[in-house]
Amino acid sequence: MKKMLSFALLILLVGVLFISCGGKKEEGTATPAGTTATTTSTAAPAKIENIKLGFIGPMTGDYANYGQLISKGAQLAIDEKNATGGIAGKAQIQLIIEDSEGNPEKGLAGIEKLSSSDKVVALVGPVFTGVTFAVGQRCQDEGLLMVTPSGTHADITNIGDYVFRTVPSDGLQGEVAGNYFYEVLGVRKLGALYIKNDYSQGLYEGTKASFEARGGQVTIAETGQIGDKDFKTQLTKIKAAAPDAIYIPNYTAEMAQILEQASQLGVNIPFFSSDGFSNPEIYDLAGAYTDGVVYVGPTKVEESEKAKAFVDKYTATYGFAPDSFATNAYDAAYILFDALEKVYKETGKFDRKAIRDAFAATKDFPGVNGLINFAENGDLVAYQGLYKVEGTTPVYLGAYTVVDGKLVEVK
Amino acid sequence: MILLETKQLTRAYGGVIAVSKVDFEVEQGLITGLIGPNGAGKTTLFNNITGLDVPTSGTVHYKGKEITGKSAHSICRMGVARTFQNIRLFKELTVLENVMVGRHFKVGTSPTKGRFGSVLKSFISLGNEEFEMKKEALHWLDFFELGELSDELAKNLPYGHQRELEIARALATEPSLLFLDEPAAGMNPQETEHLMSTIRRIRALGITVVLIEHDMKLVMNICDTITVLNYGQNIAQGTPKEIKRNPLVIEAYLGKEDE
């Protein structure tokens, strides 16, 4: 017994030693690169080495699909940039991906590792709101720039000045959705079916608030649990309540289930949806049932060469098409490159504070999603696009935003 | 004086009546034997008295107080201890610990108050309590000359010692009434002989003993009084001599003398 114990302790000890040595070594090589805020090394541009960007998302588990999809957006941008010589033609960029498993506890471990061992210069992600809150606080405290391509919860950017996003907040999407449903589509009684997760519920709440503020009424709101695939019970109830339309702000897989099952149950009520619908996967999974769905998504940019090139390249590289979140990640990466180049050119190193300032100063960045600007609090200054699906083709209805509680179409 | 008595005690499992309207008395200070063919309901009667089973009807009185349907642990605390037909030791615990478990409710500040309180208290009165328990437990091990084996795991003891340890554990609860369920089962004649003297020594401590046994030699030898069960019913009661002559008993055992 004693032997076992001492053996185990020995292993432990060796492990710890091994790790701390490894750590030191890495620190030793990392410091000259001048990638930390604390480094005092002066500009020595010639000796620059690779820099690292972090990404946190669910790479395993139920929502692994999103982690994959979105990380590829950032990866594509980085590969393109590296092919042109990297930052300022000198520094190659490496994307370090950490798996959050959709769990804040793991997300924190991820940011800890990215920040302290990998010494990333900025973070793209995290993917989901719950993890984003935990990681966001950490980034803020570390003084590490964080740009989430898909954390939509309205409060996220209130964490602090190091937190940005390239996705419109629930607040805006909800406002546009609620107003549009009421005003343009003439809906008075809205039904809803959302999942009890941060994304779905956030959008539902935002939409409900603005819809009811206009005088509409959410007559039935049903929920589902994370991982649910069977929505027949809820749909049967909603069918009986007979609202004018059913709002389903969910992830792609769930929306596909809902649409299919609704058709099976003979639900003949129009469906409205959210930016999750912009994932073309929906047409693979439920192509027969998407006709007539109206959804709020990113503004129409497909005509732009840039957007077309991105979608084509992404699809050709990875074998599947990007969704709007992946596009956001791609844009986020490019805005970051600009900020990094600017900082590097000015100071010769990658100071975290300077990177944040440069990022915040972004003005009219020509991204795939159009011209990108950030509001004071780090929110994306954005418009929402509206689409109606015909068969399996989304038809653009226009771009909208809400000003002083009024729906405004953006031309 | 009657230490324990059951009145019209009945235990039915669905349609099967294991014990039927049994009146059973235990006289203080005597060794009472409970015999009967297999399946006569002897163990069921034990279980119903010691609280491991609840009688369908009838009552159990101990020291004049009704204890019918009380929980096993509270009956034990009132001074009724037992052993089991198929030895039930705490196998992964040491011999000493097994007996210490028997001492469990004897120590502590107040027997009525929560045991947990005394655990907290024991942080302060470092090990006093444990010391007491060990001393008492060792005393009972020595009673069976098991002291040498105190650090052995119970499951590693030879069979005969396991039987003895079980009795020692029961005695550690300082019972007035001890139920032994086939204590001699699986023992060779020498061990049985030794067991008989042990049971007499236990009686000498002032403890009333009730035992279920198939070994007629042992029963006839040491029991002061014998009760015979057959098909769940009490068919005879009396001294060994009376029982030997009772025609009902002879009938019940007919062709089963070799048991």
């Binding site: 710890v16 804040p104 506890e105 405290d141 | 096993a72 089991f84 705490f90």
Partner: protein, 309 residues
């Protein structure tokens, strides 16, 4: 790198507390319970809600978190004590899921899937114990582990511990020895839950935000793994088990392997280690704690072959 190692130690400490609680229930009383995640969640949310919504000091929320978890332990313990083995496992698993389900749906109190953010940091004499300055937090967590260990070890060596083990070995015999088995089982549940509740409290001030996504039944499974992997009925082993499981699950990140291998491999590796460990040493790495002996000079009683019944 050092920070990351410290983080692993912090998580290990938090899980070690939970695992010690599980050990009381499973290692000592032999009850297969699968709701440490539920108690963990209750502790976490207690601290989060009390400190965010009601502005309580962290140190005041700890006992509340522990007691609330313990009460729910009693709540689940009392009625389900009639159940044996896997039936109990499923009932407790169900309870854990109910807790998470309620947290996810009781929007007015827990803010549902949004979780609760901006939990104030713990402070000592006005000094913040920031989860960012890992050393301070590490020390705090491991003080809790140490206190927990001393408490549980004492408990294990007292008559209460012996009573619990007697119940595990043979419940009927234990009750015939005057041990109130129901009471002790409920106590075991309460203590196990208390430890998990305190762990939850620490988790809350470490992550500074809570959300239902953290408290899946995988947490309960992990905690059980820690206990079995370390050695049931052995508090030191269980702490080692907690550390090992954490270490294994963060190992690929630690050595920078996570960037190279597909993310799923980390999980596959974890699964492999579990299977191999169980085949190699089903009784856990350290096995049961050696028995206390009367005469220390004599040889230890032969170790059991891991033979739980």
């Amino acid at each position: 790198m050092l920070n990351f190692v410290l983080l692993i130690f912090i998580y290990s400490g938090i899980y070690a507390l939970m695992a010690m609680g599980q050990n009381v229930i499973t290692g000592y009383v032999g009850l297969l319970s699968l709701c440490q995640a539920g108690f963990f969640a209750i502790g976490s949310y207690a601290t989060a809600i009390l400190s965010v919504t009601y502005g309580w000091n962290f140190w005041l929320t700890i006992p509340i978190a522990g007691v609330l978890a313990a009460l729910s332990g009693v709540l689940i313990g009392l009625p389900t004590l009639r159940l044996k083995g896997d039936y109990l496992a499923i009932a407790t698993l169900g309870f854990g899921e109910i807790v998470r389900n309620i947290l996810n749906n009781w929007d007015s109190l827990t803010r549902g899937p949004m979780g609760i953010q901006r939990i104030p940091m713990a402070t000592v004499f006005g000094l913040k114990i920031s989860p960012y300055e890992k050393w301070g937090f590490l020390v705090m967590v491991w003080i809790f582990v140490l206190v927990g260990y001393l408490f549980f070890r004492h408990l294990a060596r007292s008559r209460m511990g012996r009573a619990l083990e007697a119940i595990r070995e043979d419940e009927i015999a234990a009750s015939s020895m005057g041990i109130n088995t129901t009471k002790y089982k409920v106590w075991a549940f309460a203590l196990g839950a208390f430890a998990a509740g305190v762990a939850g409290s620490l988790q809350a001030v470490f992550t500074l935000s809570v959300s239902p996504g953290t408290f899946t039944f995988m947490v309960s499974i992990m905690v059980l793994c820690m206990v079995v992997l370390g050695g049931m009925g052995n508090f030191l082993a269980v702490i080692l088990g907690a550390f090992l499981i954490q270490f294994i699950s963060y190992f690929p990140q630690l050595v920078g392997l996570s960037n190279i291998i597909p993310p799923q491999f980390k999980q596959v590796l974890f699964g492999l280690i579990l299977v191999v460990m169980m085949i190699w040493r089903p009784q856990g790495i350290l096995g049961r704690a050696p028995r206390m002996t009367l005469n220390p000079k004599k040889k230890q009683p032969k170790d059991s072959d891991g033979g739980e019944k």
